[in-house]
Amino acid sequence: MEIEKLICDDCLIMRLRGELDHHQAEQVRAAADEALQDKGLQRLILNLGGLSFMDSAGIGVILGRYKQMQQRQGQMAICEIPRAVAKVLEISGIPRVIPFYKSEIEALRQTARGAAVKRRARQR
């Protein structure tokens, strides 16, 4: 499992490559925990484009990160979903709580818009 982390403004992008199962899930969790110590990060984008396999351990990791982002009233998005992963995600019900985007750029743009809406809501 290879994990690439990028930070762009207040957004953490994690690009996952390889097979996401229970054995590898711990690494993803640890990498996210480390980066999210920076409380300024308000957005998390998971890029799944490099995954050749994912089972329900991946669902657990994604939902765990979603809870983390909710606690800090941030946002989360998923992008570049490979065919081998799509079916598992669909069954999980994740699409009902976390938005999916085709590309990283789109995920960045849409979550930035979401963040602006949230800011305005708070200012009112």
Binding site: E19, D21, H22, H23, A25, R29, F53, M54, D55, S56, A57, I59, G60, V61, L63, G64, R83, A84, K87, V88, I91, S92
Partner: protein, 148 residues
Amino acid sequence: MKSQSYMKLEIPSRSDNEAFARVVVAAFASRLDPTLDEISDIKTAVSEAVTNAIIHAYEDRVGLITITAYLEQNKLTVEIKDEGIGIEDLEMARQPLYTSKPELDRSGMGFTIMENFMDEVKVYSAPGKGTTVVLVKEIRSKKELPSS
């Protein structure tokens, strides 16, 4: 020997065997010439059952997992057996989202995925003795697919 096309694999319940177990079953199933989607379904279901044996059946110790697979015509059967703690309430265990280990980021979707990805899922369990999960899938061999 149950069938001419048969294999039995024994591995310790270590998490780095999750990938190994699914690769072996996929290699075994490949003689039915399955599609990539079918291989992906089989790998995912096997991974769920093997992971359950590792984290639920044996919890903090290392025990033996026995995987048996056989082919009859175009039907693949895979049995994943452990001698771990067993399951008290099978009906509850199989419910979507039920997990006894939410603290481990488990989603409770393992059995649901097995049921969605395979044609048949049978679970036999005796508390204190262990659990056997039987997964069955008919392979629509590529050779038999309509050429449309």
